[in-house]
């Protein structure tokens, strides 16, 4: 049976994992390099990625690529290929890697999440159908107004954005922003100033992240 490899991210050729970088199950992370790009991978063997620690580990490896000021193309969790397919992964997506690495150079991702609202949506059991629907609409309207405020506040720093609006199964509003690294603190300060304008929401800034939201 062919040896399986877990994939983490793609960088420009010459970018190596820091010594001792451990991947899923503690396996050492190595790169496959085609002269232009480098694919970060580790042997999967019989190790199982089936845990939240696997998610943390995957991200930690991608963050290790970020440590040297590099911004990789992060790969989605759960991608495994046979050893002989590793060079083909680089070759088949060469133009995509080039485009994304050019776009991501000197950038990182930050996330803003808005939870809350100044009312509670009555439970479907307790409220009339009309009350319930009105509350849902009010909640959605408030969330849209709040996220619009956030987007205006930081628009000067944003290169790209990825919006998550409230929908069935998600009662928060979020937005991911791709920004230049050197603007991180200005971005954070700008949002700190905004907090007082959103007393009914909890505003949480997350990151910096590898640009997961812009790599797909």
């Amino acid at each position: 049976m062919a040896e399986r490899h877990w994939l983490y991210c793609v960088t420009r050729a010459g970018c190596e994992p820091p010594e001792g970088t451990a991947g899923i199950g503690g396996a050492g992370v190595f790169v496959v390099d085609d002269g232009e790009h480098a694919l970060w991978a580790s042997r999967l063997g019989d190790r199982s990625p089936r845990s939240i620690d696997g998610v943390r580990c995957h991200n930690a490896v991608v963050m290790a690529a970020m440590a040297g000021g590099v911004t990789p193309v992060p790969l989605r969790f759960g991608q495994v290929v046979d050893a002989e397919e590793l060079p083909a992964v680089l070759e088949a997506h060469r133009l995509e890697w080039r485009k994304r690495l050019d776009e991501f150079a000197g950038t990182l991702e930050l996330g803003v999440r808005l939870d809350g609202g100044d009312y509670r949506v009555p439970s479907a059991d307790a409220a009339s159908g009309r009350q319930f629907m009105e509350a849902l609409l009010r909640r959605r309207r408030e969330a849209l107004e709040a996220v619009a405020l956030v987007r205006r506040q930081v628009s000067a720093y944003v290169l790209r954005e990825h919006l998550q609006l409230p929908e069935r199964g998600r009662d928060f509003t979020g937005v991911a922003h791709l920004i230049r690294r050197e603007r991180t603190e200005m971005y954070r300060r700008s949002l700190d100033e905004l907090t007082a304008c959103l007393p009914h929401f909890r505003l949480t800034i997350s990151g910096p992240w590898p640009p997961y939201s812009f790599a797909a």
């Binding site: 939240i52 992060p74 969790f77 929401f201």
Partner: protein, 68 residues
Amino acid sequence: MMAEGTALATDQLQLVELVNRVLDRGAVISGDMVISVAGVDLVFVGLRLVLCSVETARAASLTGAVDG
């Protein structure tokens, strides 16, 4: 105000944000597989996260499409 007792702690929120990104975003190459997070099996079909458990997928006869 936010409802008391329902707000996630900051570290929990950061974890939710992490899982959201790592599982559902990022560049996609190819392949299918099954993973589980926090003890709940999730099914990837064509690397699109399907929000159902493995048991639900089995019931829906989807298991032939995944590789554990």
